[in-house]
Amino acid sequence: MAFGKNIGGAAEYVVIPALALLGALAAFGIFAALFGKDPIDLYFFMYQGAFGTWFSWQNTLTRAAPLILTALCTALPAQLGMVIIGGEGALLIGGLCATAAALVVQGAPPLLVDVAMAIAGMLAGGLWIALSGALRQFRGVNETISSLLLVYIALAVLNFLVEGPMRDPSSLNKPSTREIGAANMIGAIPGTDVHWGLVFGLVAAALAYVLIFHTTFGFAARIAGGNVRAARIVGLNVGRLVLIVCLLAGAAAGLAGMVEVAAVQGRANANLAVGYGFTGILVSFLARHNPLAIVPVAILLGGINASGGLLQRRLGLPDASVLVLQGMIFVSVLMSETLYGRFRIFARKEA
């Protein structure tokens, strides 16, 4: 499912989602008009809140950063035909283990602490999703269900450790682990308020794209995703592919968890569980599981979330209106899937 090999095909992959997006925005405008809000104001404030100022851009990018990483957790296994929706669990476990690593090596130089955190977070998140992959490969357990249920286990583990063995005794009314220390925080990209998680996300998305579309490993994964039996007949080790891809997918979400701790919260607590993993599923599907397309889609959703505040404050719309818009975009893009290959204008250029 790469970008088309010809200009017509590529244009199709840009124009159809764009039309779907415009359709959803139009529907949202009608929805707002029904509630007595001026749609022109609505679009103005959405633009203003998401992309209208440098501050808004930073707001948008900050919100997009974790979504790129969690979306990869769904997008990578999708190449193998697997539907993994448990990125949230990998994020929580990743954040928790990253914190534990930081507390263990506390006192080491900050760079070393951060590297230890990243490794611990990625490894933990990776193993968490690999567990789903293994259950499917060796026990025939549906990976969608198992990865979702593992989210709840992850949440329980997080709450147990944060409220029990790992609790900072001085965190009375908000149970949390001890802080990793201000010196170990990874901070913002110079000249901005956006934390380094955005760069991690961009690099991870680029690496994932190269891996899937420009390596034999990725080719093998896509073959297995297309037809498992054919892949086995040509001698591909499907089990190995499943495990490695799940490991990488979970590592991306685990890194998102590490970033939440190292760049935002400074410690692990229940605030890690705010649903970035679940929004990541939406991003991945909207991007048709293409690692590069994830980036603009994550920025779009980040922008919608960023503008949600302005819609509440200026137009008096409830917070749920943002969910309505997200839902409309999702339905609209899914419906547009049926349109591929139906427009002669795109096909003609193929010749």
Binding site: G52, F55, N59, N173, K174, G266, N271, R313, P318
Partner: protein, 369 residues
Amino acid sequence: MTIDSLSRRRLLQGAGMAALASALPVASAFAKDTTVGFIYVGSRDDYGYNQAHAAGAAALKKMSGVKVVEEEKVPETDAVEKTMESMINLDGATLLFPTSFGYYSPHMLKMAVKYPKVRFEHAGGLWTEKDPKNAGSYFGYIDEAQHVAGIVAGYSSKTGKLGFVAAKPIPQVLRNINAYLLGARLANPKATLQVIFTGDWSMPVKEAEATNSLIDQGCDVLTCHVDGPKTVMENAARRGAMVSGYHVSAAPLVPKAYLTGAEWNWEALYPKFVKMFTAGETIPNFYRGGLKEGLVKVSPYGAMVSEQARKHADDVKAKLMAGGYAIFKGPLKDNKGAVVIAGGVSRGQTDPELEKMNYLVEGVIGATS
């Protein structure tokens, strides 16, 4: 006037923010007013924690020269930092009320350092000397109101079994549970209070299960400490139990089952703070109080509350209002038999020991872990 009229370079510098805000048609209406921003962690009509704060914000809207902007369902992540910045940069807010406990550290502290001219007021009572001077934190001793409600519950229960649906076994929650039982025991020395912890602040399904389970075990008066008491109130009333409310009055929801309840009184505090702010006075960085200071209140008693219960409750309330009455005084045992407050020791509301409460007193059925 649109954004296009500004040069791209200016946007990139980020310096044009103030000019941009004033260029917005809507923003110009704010110009002379003091803009106050409210941030809620849940929805502002949750019949609970957030609604109590929103009622305080609504009281500000009646003041002249004050403009209120509100945002709900803002998680305790960098999202709240961005919301605060957005209110400051795009709405021109100069006084912010981030109302959730977890907004304080690191999020609000970070913003207080970044925007030294903006005043930040947090609900939670967390401010210490090392925190920025333009930040403040306030909280109410709502266990006083729970104590009074407990007295009413003690008289109203036929079985002598009370039920409490709680979120997490943290000091604030434990203090409410214990104060409630100690109140109930003033009315009925044999009263017990069964507590179920749901594990989180907003778990409607578990809250409903806990409510049913408590009633199945014979509890006939229920109260709670979760973010949105609506589930507990409605389910308990449907099952024929009586309820005592928390955060805001649930009387409009369950008029026939509502005995009384412990309520926040932010609509009294916020106008006071804003008046101080607009007059150029300094709002205290750390501000706490109970019934006496008017930070919390007890809901009006329901029609079914007996004369005896009203009299006793009013009597204790008057003592709390006068000051000097201690809810937690020795000898006091926890429900495992250990002495937690020795005989002769009286712990007043400001006693820091009470902030560390990690026990359930004798008479409470349940465990903190």
